[in-house]
């Protein structure tokens, strides 16, 4: 016990004092409570009575560590604030990718979002060259997009058009999706290649908790 107290006093206490001065101050106050008012007992006597000091101090520090862990855990959960998921998008393409009529240049993303609880926002940026693109959500066409999409709210369309278990109006059990899977499809059109022989459609889908996001 003396060894433990010495170790605590010489090693851990300075470390904790440097790392978390508030916590150290609080626990030192606890020492005063444990040993009585300062000056009522000679300092040499306090140090020589580890039974009186080590227990309360250790308990104090363990409690403080526990609270810190909880705080850290809560902090980790709120590090993206209200964001539950970010799905990144990056689709480079070249003229060679456009040579087959049976393979339309189409980029598909499946995301998880419950439109009754989530707010879904799309950020889609054309890169390297100018082009338009068709946007389809759960097989529902949102038309040809002439400009970059910055903070495009997908939530209303997700609420009205869920992904269906169908092949062109004929229900197919094998086409079933789990609940809240959403399909986002992007099809570049009319690239002009003025800036070179490559282009890209980049961005991300932000899935946030609805009550905080709106």
């Amino acid at each position: 016990m003396q060894l433990l107290a010495a170790l605590f006093g010489l090693v851990l206490l300075p470390l904790v004092c440097i790392g978390h001065p508030v916590m150290a101050a609080e626990c030192l106050e606890d020492i005063e409570h444990a040993v009585g008012p300062t000056g009522s007992t000679p300092p040499s006597a306090q140090a020589n009575d580890p039974k009186r000091t080590a227990g309360p101090i250790l308990r104090c520090f363990l409690q403080e560590v526990k609270e810190l862990k909880q705080e850290l855990s809560a902090l980790k959960q709120t590090i993206y604030d209200t964001t539950d998921e970010v799905y990144t998008i990056s689709h480079p393409f070249t003229p060679d990718d456009l040579k087959d009529a049976n393979h339309p240049l189409s980029f598909v993303h499946y995301i998880y979002a419950d439109p009754s609880r989530h707010h879904v926002t799309l950020f889609l940026l054309r890169r390297d060259n100018n082009f338009t693109f068709n946007l389809t959500v759960n097989e529902f066409s949102l038309g040809t997009q002439m400009n970059n999409l910055i903070g495009f709210d997908l939530t209303p369309v997700l609420k009205t058009h869920a992904l269906k278990t169908t092949r062109a109006g004929v229900d197919v059990a094998l086409s079933a999706y789990p609940p809240h899977v959403q399909k986002i499809e992007m099809t570049p059109t009319h690239p002009n290649w003025d800036e070179g022989q490559s282009a890209s459609l980049d961005g991300y889908v932000l899935v946030q908790r609805a009550e905080q996001a709106q």
Binding site: A101, N102, S106, V108, E139, K164, V170, D171
Partner: protein, 366 residues
């Protein structure tokens, strides 16, 4: 003094039980848009008449085209083949680099605008189902001019193989389309013999020429047969209509729908009075596309009703479902003269740029 309220009472009773109201509401108006019976019914509403108990009352909106198969014909076109053969015209029409065919909009509008045939274009509608939007090949059997483009899928909901020409002899003056059953081994030979065919389905009204009443009676839970009364030269002629859609479909998810329909118009040849006596006998074909969701039951209700045909001689013959949902689309001429087609302002229904796998093309016969 007594007569007027009495008449009012009778009229009130008739209207109350829905007879007059339903007839007026469901009466389809066919408008002539070209010679030799080319008609369209644009933006009409059908209130479903026969619903099983527990199903909610409902209606849907649709467009339809009706044409005489003696003077118009249906062709089948693979969209992939069309894109390859007509790439220069499509590229020019759509202002896209010809070396980038993946950027072509290959829906019914592209086929309508870039006619792949020598005959005047009348209409384009979907034929076969698409494998997926990223792989827009035909799903199921597609055979064109005897060449198998994609293979038959023996199981699943695509229970019909529409054969565009099942005439008894090759020199027939008109087209006799029919359909075979995908899973019927007795019809395998017929499927093999047909030169232009596409797999689709489900079957909405069965073809009575390949159906016996007995098989419906043997499985009355699955099929129903109903009597359809038509009038030919003042006489009521009862016809049996074999319904392919079961009652449970009335409770299924409604989608936008498309259908290919062939009627029995009750035509008789008048040899002495016409040079075209043989082709005058031909049936009428219809392409129907809904613009409001409907179940297959709803569609069957309409296609087996006299109000849809709006002609006392006509009776239902057969009907099959075509690709629906986003693929339910059609484009047709708004009017057509005897000599040449007027292609300005065609009637466009649904997403006309939606990539299709194969299409039905209606052209005018020479």
């Amino acid at each position: 003094m007594i007569r007027l309220p009495y008449i009012a009472l009778i009229l009130g009773a008739i209207c109350a039980n829905g007879t007059l109201a339903t007839a007026a509401e469901n009466s389809i108006v066919w408008k002539s848009i070209g010679p030799n019976l080319l008609e369209s019914a644009d933006r009409q509403t059908w209130s479903v008449k026969n619903l099983p108990s527990g199903a909610n009352p409902r209606s849907f909106e649709f467009f339809a085209l009706r044409f005489h198969l003696g003077y118009y014909r249906i062709r089948l076109l693979s969209v992939a083949d069309f894109a390859q053969r007509k790439s220069a015209q499509i590229a020019k029409e759509q202002a896209v680099d010809e070396d980038s065919p993946a950027l072509f909009q290959l829906g019914v509008r592209a086929v309508f605008r870039t006619n792949a045939f020598a005959d005047p274009m009348v209409a384009v509608a979907p034929a076969g189902f698409v494998t997926s939007s990223q792989q827009p090949t035909n799903f199921g059997l597609l055979k064109i001019d005897g060449q198998v483009e994609t293979k038959l899928v023996p199981r699943g909901a695509l229970t019909a193989i529409v054969c565009l020409n099942n005439a008894p002899t090759p020199d027939y003056q008109y087209q006799v389309p029919t359909f075979f059953r995908t899973a019927d081994p007795n019809q395998t030979k017929l499927v093999d013999q047909c030169r232009d065919e596409v797999q689709t389905g489900p079957r909405i009204i069965e073809d009575p020429s390949v159906t016996t009443k007995g098989e419906f009676e043997a499985n009355s839970n699955r099929y129903r047969a109903q009597i359809y009364n038509r009038t030919i030269e003042g006489k009521t002629v009862p016809e049996t209509v074999f319904l392919g859609i079961s009652e449970k479909e009335a409770f299924s998810t409604p989608y936008l729908r498309a259908a290919l329909v062939v009627d029995d118009p009750g035509r008789f040849a008048e040899k002495e009075s016409s040079n075209n006596y043989e082709r005058d006998l031909a049936r009428n074909a219809y392409v129907v596309v809904t613009t409001k969701p409907a179940t297959l039951w709803d569609l069957q209700d309409m296609l087996s009703s006299p109000e849809f045909y709006a002609n006392e001689r006509y009776a239902p013959h057969w009907a099959v479902n075509l690709p629906g949902d986003d693929y339910a689309t059609m484009i047709h001429v708004s009017s057509m003269s005897d000599s040449q087609q007027i292609r300005k302002d065609p009637v466009e229904v649904g997403i006309v740029d939606r990539r299709q796998a194969s299409v039905l093309v209606v052209t005018k016969r020479p």
